[in-house]
């Protein structure tokens, strides 16, 4: 038989690595990183874990090139989906009716402002200005 049999110790190593990754991602979630780094850290750990599963548990590391091509094409498709969709959303002008938007129920400007301020620790000083902008209290 010519299929590659992965030794058990490889499986054990990958399994332990996955558990470590899970612990890391939970611990990192409670730590306040600057800017958007929390999301980046969480997604990086998740990507590493997923890569380990794909390469070793799913045997892609030991598979023929055609399987690599199929996996790569799936990831390529995801990149297109996110890139094209977000290049549309991110280039829309939200601020045309800024005043009206600020008082609308779905106001995203207020929550984005609040989040930025939460992240930079300015929280105690913004209550009055948020009230003026129509934030929920």
């Amino acid at each position: 038989m010519s299929e590659h049999i992965v030794p058990v110790r490889v499986y054990i190593t990958i399994f332990l690595a996955l558990l470590v990754g899970t612990g890391l991602t939970v611990a990192a979630a409670f730590f306040d990183f600057p800017w958007q780094l929390n999301t980046i850290v969480a997604l990086t750990i998740a990507t590493v874990k997923a890569t380990l599963v794909v390469l070793y548990f799913m045997h892609v590391r030991y598979s023929v090139r055609l399987v690599w091509v199929i996996v790569a094409s799936a990831l390529f498709w995801m990149v297109i989906l996110f890139a094209l969709t977000f290049s549309d959303y991110r280039t829309r002008s939200w601020d045309r009716d800024r005043t009206a938007m600020l008082y609308s129920p779905g106001c995203n400007v207020v929550s984005r402002t609040s989040m930025t301020r939460l992240q930079t620790g300015q929280f105690n000083r913004i209550v009055a200005s948020d009230v003026l902008m129509g934030a929920a209290q």
Binding site: F15, N38, A46, F57, S111
Partner: protein, 248 residues
């Protein structure tokens, strides 16, 4: 290994289909077929991840508030359960490859039990959401989306929703639409996987697999690992995104 047949006699392994030259080719074809199917599954979940990303970008405070309301202990436990089940599944494939039937059956059984454990914990979580009126829209007749909101100055209540500044209940409902759609789809895939594993167990006990022919075990293993990968991404995105604001 089989060589080219020149007669119409049964040749090679009894599981070898006539349109394949040998078992290795048959096995590879089966694996490729499952991989192509997994690509379509990625497209399926990819659309939902896109929806999540979009609404998270639009309503960051609401998403953080809603995420903090999920039970992180149950979520982490479930993640550990699924990772362990992937490990036992990989071992199940390994033992099938080397022809050790008893450990093979044990590993497949463990995988199935771990998958059912995951579903049980999910049921508990869904019940908690039902109790707190967090099931979105009017999915539950008579119990529309309407969580109690934590007010300032009141004693902290675990069942009440604590809204971060800028978050509205409507936006939180959006989070829960996405939460139930994604974890619900994921749970449906787990149920299907559990059914497939049951078939695998029955056939394994009957001795249908051997080191030459065990494609179904490998291929269902691929499916199971894929479902695990989806959860590996779902867990931090749904459960962990707002935790660093909790003491902020």
């Amino acid at each position: 290994m089989t060589s080219h047949a020149t007669t119409c006699d049964v040749h090679g392994h009894p599981a070898l289909q006539h349109h394949f030259e040998n078992m290795e080719q048959q096995r590879e074809a089966g694996t490729l077929g499952m991989w192509v199917f997994l690509v379509t599954e990625l497209m399926f979940f990819g659309g939902m991840f896109l929806a999540y990303t979009l609404y998270r970008w639009m309503y960051p405070a609401a998403f953080a508030s809603a995420s903090n309301h999920l039970d992180i202990t149950l979520g982490t436990f479930n993640t550990g359960v699924l990772i362990l089940s992937s490990f036992t599944m990989a071992l199940g494939v390994y033992f099938t490859q080397i022809g050790n039937r008893r450990p093979q059956i044990l590993c497949l059984l463990l995988t199935l039990l771990l998958g059912l454990t995951f579903l049980g914990v999910k049921a508990v979580e869904y019940h908690d959401k039902y109790e707190d009126s967090l099931i979105p829209g009017h999915l539950i007749p008579g119990r529309p989306f309407g969580p109690a909101v934590q007010e300032e100055g009141q004693p902290p209540d675990h069942h009440k929703l604590h809204l971060l500044p800028g978050a509205t209940v409507k936006q939180v409902e959006m989070f829960y639409w996405i939460y139930f759609a994604m974890t619900g789809m994921h749970a449906l895939h787990m149920i299907i996987g559990a059914g497939l594993l049951t078939f695998l167990l029955i056939f394994s006990i009957k001795g249908r697999f051997d080191p030459e022919y065990h494609s179904p075990v490998e291929v269902i293993g691929l499916y199971w690992h894929f479902v695990d990968i989806i959860w590996i991404f779902l867990f931090p995105l749904l459960y962990l995104l707002g935790r660093h604001f909790e003491h902020g």
